[in-house]
C-alpha cells in the first residue's frame, strides 16, 4: 500500500516537474524538497516534519509557506520556519540552504552532527559536504546527491529516490580530488605557514619594540613628572632667593663703601706684606742656604760616624785577627815543632825499619852466607890440617937438618940419611901439596874476609856517615849473599860498565836496595830451566844506571802499582816481609835517584835504578 503510494508520488513528482518549469523556479525548488522528503527513509515515525529554510529570498519563503500549508510529507503535516542568518533549531528534520549561504555549509554540517537532518543546498560546489544539491538552470533544473553523507546522517535513500532523476556523486573520484588538492593545499599551507611564522616573528619583534618604546615612554613620562616637580620646587626656591638677593643687594651697596675703605687699607697692608714677604724670602733663602750647609754637614757627619764605626769594627777585627794569627802562629810553631819531632821520629822509625828489614833479609840470607863462610873456613881448616900433617912428617928431617954441623966428621953420612928420609917421604910431591894447601888457606882466608867485609858493608847501621859507594862491589856482595838462591837452572849474566864512577851515599843502604832487587829477580825465576838474571850497569846523563832484568814469571799489571807499597807481597807467609821494595824505593829516593819497573807477565821484568853521580846528595 505504501509502495503504491510512493509510486504515485513519483508520478506526481513528474507532473510537478513539468509544472515547475512553467510555474517558476521557486516552485521547482519546493517541489524537489517535498519529493526528497517523501523518498527518504527516516529513522523514526514523526508526528510532523520540521523544515527550516535559510534564505533571504521572499518569494521562495512564500512558496515554502504555501507548500507547508497545502502539502504533507509522508502523510504528516509540515512545520516550516525561516531565517536570513545561519541558525539551527533544536528540533529539525529538513534544512534548506539558499545558495547565498553556501560558504557556511561546513559550519552548518558541523552543527547538525548526530541529528537525522536532511540538508538541501542549491548550487553548491562542495560536493563532499552536500547531501542533496539543486543544480542546473531555472529551465533545466536537476540535482545531485551524496549518498554517503545522507546515510551518515542516519537517513536512508528509498529506491524511488534514484528515479527522481538526480545524479549520484562518484564518491571515489570526489575523494581523490580533494586528496590531490589537499596535497597542493598542504604545500601551499606550508608556504603560507612559513610566511605566517616569519610574520609572527616580525610581529613579535614589533611587539617587543612597541613594548620597549612604551616602557621608555612611561619612564620618560615619570622623569618628566619628577623634573616638573623639581622645577616647581626650584621655581619656589628661586623666588625666595630673589627676595633674599634683593635684601642682600641693599646690604652690598651699604658695604661697598666700607669695602672701598677696607680696600685702601688692604692695599697699604698688601704693600707692607709684600715688603715683609721680600724680607722673609731673603731670610728663607739664607735659611735654605744654611739648611743646605747643615744638610751637607749632616751627611758628612753621618759618613764620618759610619766611617768611624767601620774603623772601630775593622780595628777590632784586625786586633782579633792579629791575636788569632799570633795564636795560630804560636800554634803553628808548636805544630811545626811537633811535626819536626814527628819527622825525626819518622826518620828514626824509617831508619829502624830499614835496619829491621835488612836484618830480616839477612836472616833469610844466613844459609847462603853460612855456606860461603863454611866453604872458605873449610879451605883454611882442611888446608891447615893437611899442612900440619905434612909438616909433622917433614919435622924429623928438619930436626936432622938443624943438627947438622959442618965440622961433623959424619956430615956426609948424616946428609945421606936426610936425603934417604926425604926420598922415603916423596918430599917432591909434598912441595906441590904444600903449595896447594897454602893457596887453599889463602883463598879461604880471602873469601872469609870478603864475606865478612860484605856483611859489614851490608849491615852497617843507618847513622853511618855518607861515603863513596862502589856499586859493582855492592853487586858482588849481593851475589855472594844470594849464592844459595842461585839454582842450577839459573844463570847470572853480568854486563858491567868498564868504569863506573863511585857515587856518594850510604853504602849499606844502596847495597841493600841492589840485593833486594837481585834477590827478587832470582825468586821470580824459580826452578824454571833457562832462567837468566842479567845485571847491567852504565853511565848515562851523569847518572849511574843499574838494570836488573829477569825472564821469570813477571808482575801482574794490577800489582805493578802496589809493589812499592809497604807490606804488599805476593810471596807466601814467611818468605817475604812485604817491606823489601818499599824500603828499596825509600833508599833510592833518599839518594836522589829513581826506580822504574817494566814487566810483561810471563815473560820478563826489569828494574832500572838511576842514581845521580854528582856528590851533591839530597839529605
Amino acid at each position: 500500500m505504501k509502495l503504491d503510494l510512493k509510486k504515485l508520488c513519483s508520478f506526481l513528482f513528474l507532473i510537478a516537474c513539468f509544472v515547475a518549469v512553467s510555474q517558476g523556479i521557486d516552485q521547482q525548488k519546493v517541489d524537489y524538497v517535498h519529493s526528497f522528503a517523501n523518498n527518504i527513509g527516516w529513522p523514526e515515525n514523526k508526528e510532523e516534519y520540521v523544515l527550516k529554510v535559510i534564505t533571504q529570498d521572499h518569494s521562495l519563503t512564500q512558496t515554502f509557506k504555501e507548500m507547508a500549508a497545502t502539502r504533507q510529507i509522508n502523510g504528516k503535516p509540515t512545520r516550516v520556519s525561516f531565517s536570513s542568518h545561519v541558525s539551527i533549531p533544536e528540533r529539525l528534520d529538513i534544512l534548506y540552504v539558499s545558495s547565498q549561504y553556501n560558504g557556511a555549509l561546513q559550519i552548518i554540517i558541523d552543527s547538525i552532527t548526530g541529528k537525522s537532518v536532511l540538508i538541501i543546498t542549491e548550487q553548491s560546489s562542495d560536493q563532499q559536504y552536500i547531501m542533496v544539491n539543486l543544480i542546473g538552470t531555472p529551465l533545466e533544473m536537476s540535482f545531485e546527491f551524496n549518498r554517503a553523507n545522507i546515510i551518515n546522517q542516519n537517513l536512508q535513500l528509498d529506491d524511488d529516490f534514484n528515479e527522481l532523476g538526480g545524479n549520484e556523486i562518484n564518491i571515489a573520484a570526489l575523494y581523490r580530488q580533494p586528496r590531490d588538492s589537499a596535497r597542493a593545499m598542504e604545500e601551499r599551507s606550508k608556504v603560507v605557514k612559513e610566511r605566517i611564522d616569519s610574520l609572527n616573528v616580525n610581529m613579535a619583534i614589533a611587539f617587543k619594540i612597541a613594548n620597549d618604546q612604551n616602557e621608555q615612554i612611561a619612564k620618560g613620562r615619570e622623569q618628566l613628572d619628577r623634573q616638573n616637580k623639581i622645577l616647581d620646587s626650584l621655581t619656589i626656591a628661586l623666588r625666595d632667593r630673589e627676595e633674599e638677593l634683593a635684601i642682600l643687594e641693599d646690604e652690598i651697596i651699604a658695604q661697598e663703601g666700607n669695602l672701598k675703605k677696607g680696600r685702601e687699607r688692604l692695599n697699604q697692608q698688601a704693600a707692607l706684606i709684600k715688603q715683609r714677604n721680600k724680607e722673609i724670602g731673603d731670610k728663607e733663602k739664607r735659611i735654605n742656604r744654611m739648611i743646605t750647609i747643615v744638610d751637607s754637614q749632616k751627611y758628612t757627619l753621618i759618613l764620618l760616624i759610619v766611617f768611624l764605626v767601620f774603623l772601630v769594627a775593622a780595628l777590632i777585627l784586625a786586633y782579633r785577627a792579629y791575636h788569632a794569627r799570633r795564636r795560630d802562629a804560636r800554634k803553628l810553631g808548636e805544630q811545626k815543632e811537633e811535626l819536626k819531632d814527628l819527622l825525626e821520629e819518622l826518620k828514626s822509625t824509617q831508619t829502624q825499619l830499614i835496619q829491621s828489614e835488612k836484618m830480616a833479609s839477612l836472616g833469610t840470607l844466613t844459609a847462603g852466607i853460612a855456606h860461603e863462610i863454611n866453604n872458605a873456613i873449610n879451605y883454611v881448616h882442611s888446608g891447615v890440617h893437611v899442612l900440619s900433617n905434612k909438616f909433622s912428617e917433614i919435622k924429623p928431617i928438619i930436626g936432622h937438618v938443624k943438627d947438622l954441623n959442618e965440622n961433623d966428621e959424619h956430615l956426609k953420612a948424616k946428609v945421606k940419611k936426610i936425603r934417604d928420609q926425604k926420598n922415603e917421604l916423596e918430599y917432591d910431591s909434598y912441595e906441590s901439596v904444600i903449595d896447594t894447601m897454602i893457596n887453599s888457606i889463602q883463598v879461604g882466608a880471602e873469601r872469609t874476609i870478603s864475606v865478612v867485609k860484605g856483611l859489614r858493608t851490608f849491615s852497617r847501621a843507618q847513622e853511618e856517615s855518607r861515603s863513596e859507594i862502589d856499586i859493582h862491589e855492592d853487586i858482588e856482595v849481593a851475589l855472594l849473599f844470594l849464592k844459595n838462591k842461585i839454582r842450577p837452572t839459573l844463570s847470572i849474566e853480568k854486563d858491567l860498565a868498564d868504569e863506573l864512577p863511585t857515587i856518594f851515599g850510604y853504602p849499606g843502604q844502596v847495597g841493600q836496595a841492589i840485593l833486594n832487587i837481585i834477590g827478587n829477580a832470582m825468586d821470580a825465576c824459580g826452578n824454571e830451566p833457562g832462567s837468566v838474571v842479567s845485571i847491567k850497569t852504565r853511565v848515562e846523563n851523569d847518572k849511574a844506571t843499574i838494570s836488573i832484568k829477569d825472564n821469570g814469571i813477571g808482575i801482574k799489571q794490577e800489582d805493578l802499582d802496589k809493589i812499592f807499597d809497604p807490606f804488599y807481597t805476593t810471596k807466601k807467609i814467611g818468605e817475604g816481609s812485604g817491606l823489601g821494595l818499599s824500603i828499596t824505593y825509600g833508599i833510592i829516593e833518599k839518594h836522589g835517584g829513581t826506580i822504574d819497573v817494566n814487566s810483561v807477565l810471563g815473560e820478563e821484568t826489569e828494574f832500572k835504578i838511576k842514581l845521580p853521580l854528582n856528590d851533591q846528595l839530597l839529605n
Binding site: N378, H381, S382
Partner: protein, 122 residues
C-alpha cells in the same frame, strides 16, 4: 894395598875442596874426585863404590838431585850416600834424609877425625 881400601867418590864444584879431601883421606880410601855430576854417575855405575860424597849446592844440579838421578839407574853396588855442605840441613836435604835418599849429612868445615869415624861406622 889400594884394593883393600874402601872406594869413595867425592863430587864438589869447588876444586880446592876436592884436593883438600883427597889429600886428607888418600891414605884411608880409594878416592875418585870430580866437579862433574855426569862423570860421577858414570864412575859410580862402572865401579864398585862404597861411599858417595857430594856437595849440595852446585851449579848444574844439587847434591840431592844428583843422588835422585843416580837412584833411577840400576847398578849392583849399594853405596852409602853422604852430603857434605856448608848449607844447612833444611828443605830439600832434610826431606832427602827422611826419605832415606841420603844416609848422612856432614857440614863444612869437616874435621878429619869426625868424618873418618863417621864413614867407617855407617
Amino acid at each position: 894395598m889400594s884394593t883393600e881400601k874402601l872406594s869413595l867418590i867425592y863430587l864438589d864444584d869447588e876444586e880446592i875442596n876436592l884436593i883438600l879431601f883427597k889429600e886428607m883421606f888418600k891414605k884411608d880410601f880409594d878416592i875418585y874426585t870430580t866437579t862433574s855430576p855426569h862423570k860421577a854417575i858414570d864412575h859410580v855405575v862402572h865401579n864398585d863404590i862404597d861411599f858417595i860424597l857430594t856437595d849440595q849446592l852446585m851449579p848444574d844440579m844439587t847434591g840431592v838431585e844428583f843422588l835422585r838421578e843416580l837412584e833411577e839407574i840400576e847398578f849392583s853396588a849399594t853405596p852409602k850416600k853422604i852430603i857434605i855442605s856448608g848449607y844447612t840441613k833444611e828443605g830439600e836435604v832434610s826431606e832427602a834424609i827422611e826419605k832415606k835418599l841420603i844416609d848422612k849429612f856432614v857440614s863444612k868445615p869437616w874435621s878429619y877425625d869426625k868424618l873418618r869415624d863417621l864413614l867407617l861406622t855407617i
